[in-house]
């Protein structure tokens, strides 16, 4: 028996030396993601009709030569050679990355055709960097088996191909995904440092990411105000009056910036969103849509539009006709909608329920092959989607569960916060704020797309909320493995060890 043990130990030693947990995690993620995105048959996402704005703004075009363009993943996009009438390159982080990808494409591949896999490569590199930050943060005081466990869990949740398949596409979800991981990673690392300088290094990373979120998309820009609550944690933790003050100013400044920049985004889908917030949002959840419409001063006859989408090919009247625009869309505003949901909470919960069912269902049809790669064109690789499948089975479909989950998390961290404060440690207070901010984001990222645009593209829009849930679970598991949840005097002393390293600023 002992001989086997000895053998295991002998074997484990070089593994620990050459493949520490973080490195192993990154390696596994790299393997999985590269296999998914670059090894043929290649996976990616299909254009659902919304690519054209982004493509044209970046000097690309849809590949209209292929009649399967809207059915299968087509990785080639022609680069516009001549005058591009839509070339108003609006300031967006995604456009910056796309331009970088086009540059690489022109150097290494061709100046006429853009292969979206270059973008996938850029996303993968950023993804691995962000995950490295996160894994370092998660495994701070863990060694041995526990460290490997948390890293493997991280790989299991975050390497899930339903997230990474977005890298080979022009949707903004991958950017949300990667930046959220980096944000949480920076936060965790910031709280583990002992010298002010290092704390500031990671904390400013967090603030920078929050700031960059403003330039990703309209929905996320507004949500940055919620993210600021997470940043309050860092403010508490920072020592030194001048740093605290600047941090406070920055964070407070972020809130009006988020509202201002959010409203700057052109809301080209406004009519569609408004229409579908009713037809695919409020109306399907009631038994008598006509009555509900009358309650909020909208013509009850519009109930005949329940369940229709704005660009459905066949309709009673064209969506841009006066019948629809004046008779329906102009009568809707979000104030009415919020009032309606407020007075009919059961309708809201029904709507959220449907959203939930879509969120956690095993999404095996999302990523698709290029045509011809496999016998049946829209099969896809279902490998490594086990996290999503498992979540689909385990997580309850009742929205109330998430409330209870949030209460649980908050109460546990409040306890550790209070205890920590009693023992003179600010760390746990900071942690509490960060997790509260993440929880708030999770709820808002879930509710707001449903209210704003009904069930349009709901699977895509719920990616952010899903990511946050995964990250929170990872944080909790990591904290419990480190015995950081129910803290004792010893834990506090441990965390404060070396805090006086401030004296020699290094």
């Amino acid at each position: 028996m002992t001989k086997i043990r000895q053998k295991l130990h002998a074997w484990a030693e070089p593994v620990e030396r050459w493949l520490p947990p973080v490195r192993l995690g990154i390696l596994l993620l790299a393997l999985i993601t590269i296999f998914l995105l670059f090894v043929p048959p290649v996976s990616g996402l299909v254009d659902d009709g919304t690519y054209n704005l982004i493509l044209h703004a970046n000097g690309l075009r849809e590949f209209t030569g292929d009649s399967n363009y809207y059915k299968y993943f087509v990785p080639q996009f022609p680069i516009l050679q001549y005058y591009n009438p839509d070339a108003h390159l609006y300031l967006s982080l995604q456009n910056v990355l796309i331009q970088a990808a086009i540059l690489l494409n022109k150097i290494f591949y061709s100046t006429k055709i853009f292969d979206v896999r270059f973008l996938g490569a850029i996303y993968t590199v950023l993804f691995l960097l962000a995950c490295r930050l996160l894994f370092k943060g998660l495994t701070h005081r863990l060694t041995g088996k526990k460290a490997y466990l948390i890293v493997l869990l991280g790989v299991f949740f975050l390497g899930d191909t339903t997230y990474t398949v977005y890298f080979n596409s022009f949707y903004i979800e991958p950017l949300d995904f990667i930046m959220m991981i980096a944000f949480v990673g920076c936060g965790l690392l910031a709280f583990q440092q002992t010298t002010t300088r290092k704390i500031l290094k990671y904390y400013s990373g967090q603030v920078l990411i929050a700031f960059l979120f403003l330039f990703v998309s309209r929905q996320v820009a507004f949500l940055v105000s919620a993210l600021c609550i997470s940043l309050i944690g860092g403010i508490i933790f920072i020592r030194g009056r001048q740093w605290k003050l600047s941090a406070i100013i920055l964070v407070i400044a972020l809130i009006p910036m988020s509202i201002f920049i959010g409203s700057l985004y052109s809301n080209s889908n406004h009519n569609q969103n408004v229409y579908q917030s009713m037809t695919l949002g409020a109306m399907p959840s009631t038994k008598n849509p006509g009555k509900s419409l009358a309650e909020i001063n909208i013509r009850p006859q519009n109930e005949i539009l329940r369940g229709t989408s704005y660009d459905a090919p066949y309709a009673i009247a064209r969506s841009d006709s006066a019948t629809i625009q004046k008779g329906f869309i102009d009568e809707i505003n979000y104030a009415k909608l919020v009032w309606y949901y407020g007075t009919h909470p059961s309708m809201l919960s029904k709507l959220l329920q449907t959203g939930l069912e879509n969120k956690n269902v095993a999404r095996t049809k999302v990523g698709v092959y290029e045509k011809g790669a496999v016998k049946q064109g829209d099969e896809d690789k279902t490998f490594f989607q086990w996290a999503t499948i498992a979540k689909g089975f385990i997580l309850p479909k009742k929205f109330g569960f998430y409330f209870i989950f949030a209460i649980l998390v908050i109460s546990v961290y409040i306890v550790s916060c209070v205890r920590g404060l009693e023992m003179g440690s600010k760390l746990y207070a900071a942690r509490l704020w960060m997790n509260c901010g993440l929880l708030l984001m999770m709820f808002l990222a879930f509710i707001s797309p449903i209210i704003i645009s009904g069930q349009t593209n709901i699977i895509r829009q719920l990616t952010m909320s899903s990511t946050l849930l995964d990250l929170l679970v990872l944080i909790i598991i990591s904290d419990s493995l480190q015995h950081d949840i129910w803290i004792t005097r010893d834990t506090v002393l441990l965390t404060r060890a070396g805090e006086d390293g401030d004296a020699n600023e290094e």
């Binding site: 008598n288 849509p289 006509g290 009850p300 006859q301 519009n302 109930e303 005949i304 539009l305 329940r306 369940g307 229709t308 704005y310 660009d311 459905a312 090919p313 066949y314 309709a315 009673i316 009247a317 064209r318 969506s319 006709s321 019948t323 629809i324 008779g327 089975f393 385990i394 997580l395 309850p396 479909k397 009742k398 109330g400 569960f401 209870i404 989950f405 209460i407 649980l408 109460s411 546990v412 306890v415 129910w486 004792t488 005097r489």
Partner: protein, 549 residues
């Protein structure tokens, strides 16, 4: 319960049996269009969208279709040599919309010259060989305005100022002219408006409005040999479940005092048919068609862009709409659509072919073709819809209340369904003021109908019949029950079996979490008590941080 099911099943089987014994041809395509129609080729120089001439081109195509012609339309630049001979056309029309650009196609000119059939030239820039077909003196008249007087002076209207126009100064030999152009400069010089000489004809200008339209219709019909004497019906287009119900109520009220039959076109839907709005919509339609005082035509769905798939979605949608209407005692006898749908193979096959009666209307914007083609089909009965605004400024010279002017093909005066009570009243006034006698014999005058694969509606000899049986003799309650039964059986098959288990797991998880929370708070309470007890009892040794878990 099973007894009831068996009963319904038997009835269903009987109905299927009845239908299968119906010898009516199931092929939707054969019965609706005219067999061996006369073929007309229209070649226009340009659509001249800047001056809105596409309306005129569409109107011309509709007019020809209503006259039972199979129309092929193309621009001069699309014409290739020998298309006329290869296409076996009986008539060729040249339409010049933009004389300033002087578009030209020598191959077309050549083929047309060699063509032996009927030829019509509309507009300026007649070629020399075309002019030779008309004996007489051609005069070029500049800067002149005219009054157009219809045949036998039944109507007249001042026409647009003409910068340059070529007219014969008089009619000679066997030539025919139906309308006259009278110079409005005081000289009262008269010229023929439009001239026919045997196979050849000429129209100096064409318009989709006013007296010009009426005179153009007469000339073209005469030239093609289309004879008929139709008094216009009235059509009110696009009643939908979204139409204002107050306007509808006013409209129906006014229907009582109208003596003629109206054709009402409606766009239905297959979704949300269980809502109160849809039930009201059906109720209104039934009210409108009470005693067959109005006839319903089914309008094709509006398009938000084109559905480029080649599947049966459109056909199934229309089939279901028709079925729902029939169940609810509404019997559409024709199909209504924008003109461009008849220039599209997919829409012809999947929508227009349902009926042998159509009513087409102009739509120049938002044309979402699926499979565009240049040849339209000729349906057995096609009403030419004239927008009521086109008849506005015509001065009718009438003896009595109504004019005796008739059209050579079926015509309707076209109104859009009102969206307010005020508009409904306005339409009512205008209809009652029309110079045409109200026609109330639709079901006797026309033999029209639509059919799906299982249902065949026909209106003729004063009676509407479904699959051969007059609808007054059919029990629709039964049909409704049967189709409801079929739909119900279909719904029950999509049942998930894992749903129950997953629900149970969620409940278990919630219970676990709630219990954990209770335990947590309980322990907090106990711990606090223990902690405080330390300080209450001062006799015990004071230890900071006594052991807590």
């Amino acid at each position: 319960m099973t007894q009831m099911k068996n009963k319904l099943l038997t009835l269903f089987v009987i109905l299927v049996g009845l239908i299968s014994f119906n010898w009516h041809s199931p092929s939707v395509q054969a019965a609706t269009t005219i067999q061996n129609p006369s073929k007309v080729l229209v070649v226009y120089d340009s659509l001249n969208e800047r001056n809105h001439r596409q309306e005129d081109v569409q109107t011309l195509s509709r007019m020809l279709m209503s006259m039972g012609q199979q129309v092929t339309m193309m621009s001069m630049s699309d014409y290739h040599a020998e298309m006329i001979s290869k296409g076996h056309y009986q008539a060729v029309i040249t339409m010049i919309n933009w004389p300033g650009m002087k578009f030209d196609n020598p191959a077309f000119d050549r083929d047309r010259q060699q063509f032996n059939g009927k030829k019509l030239h509309i507009g300026p820039l007649m070629t020399a060989d075309e002019k030779q077909n008309f004996p007489g003196n051609w005069q070029e008249i500049n800067q002149q305005s005219f009054i157009l007087k219809g045949q036998n002076n039944r109507y007249e209207q001042q026409v647009d100022f003409q910068r340059q126009i070529q007219l014969l100064d008089q009619v000679t030999g066997n030539e025919q002219a139906l309308s006259q152009l009278v110079a409005a400069n005081g000289t009262n010089q008269t010229y023929p408006f439009g001239i026919i000489n045997g196979q050849n004809a000429y129209l100096p200008f064409f318009s989709s409005q006013g007296a010009t339209l009426l005179s153009s219709i007469q000339l073209i019909a005469q030239w093609l040999g289309v004879h008929g004497s139709y008094v216009p019906y009235v059509d009110v287009r696009d009643f939908t479940p979204l139409s204002s119900f107050t306007a509808t109520k006013e409209f129906i009220k006014n229907l009582d005092s109208f003596e003629g039959n109206m054709i009402i076109t409606t766009t239905s839907t297959t979704q949300n048919t269980d809502t109160k709005t849809f039930k009201n919509y059906l109720k209104f339609l039934r009210e409108m068609t009470r005693n067959n005082r109005a006839v319903v035509y089914l309008n094709v769905p509006a398009l938000n862009g084109v559905d480029s798939s080649n599947d049966d979605t459109l056909m199934n949608m229309l089939t279901q709409e028709i079925s729902t209407l029939i169940e609810n005692k509404i019997f559409p006898l024709g199909i209504s659509a924008p003109t461009y749908w008849n220039f599209d193979k997919y829409y012809q096959l999947n929508a227009l072919n349902f009926g042998d009666a159509t009513l087409l209307y102009n739509q120049v914007n938002n044309q979402d073709y699926h499979t565009q083609t240049s040849t339209a089909k000729a349906y057995q009965t096609m009403f030419f819809a004239i927008p009521h605004s086109a008849l506005k400024n015509i001065k009718w010279n009438i003896n009595g209340r109504y004019t005796d002017f008739t059209f050579p093909m079926p015509v309707t005066v076209d109104y859009h369904f009102p969206n307010s009570k005020a508009k409904a009243e306005k339409i009512n006034r205008e209809i009652k003021a029309l110079p045409f006698a109200p026609m109330s014999q639709y079901l006797y005058q026309f033999n029209t109908g639509i059919s799906t694969q299982t249902q065949n509606l026909r209106g003729k000899d004063g009676v509407i019949s479904l699959n051969g049986t007059p609808v007054s003799e059919i029990d629709f309650h039964q049909i409704k029950q049967q189709t409801a039964g079929i739909r119900q059986n279909r719904d029950q098959t999509g049942h998930l079996t894992t749903k129950g288990i997953v629900d149970k797991i969620s409940n278990v998880l919630i219970v676990i979490i709630v219990v954990t929370l209770i335990v947590l708070f309980g322990m907090l309470a106990i711990g606090r008590k223990l902690y405080l007890r330390m300080f209450k009892n001062r006799n015990l040794k004071r230890t900071k941080g006594a052991k807590k878990k």
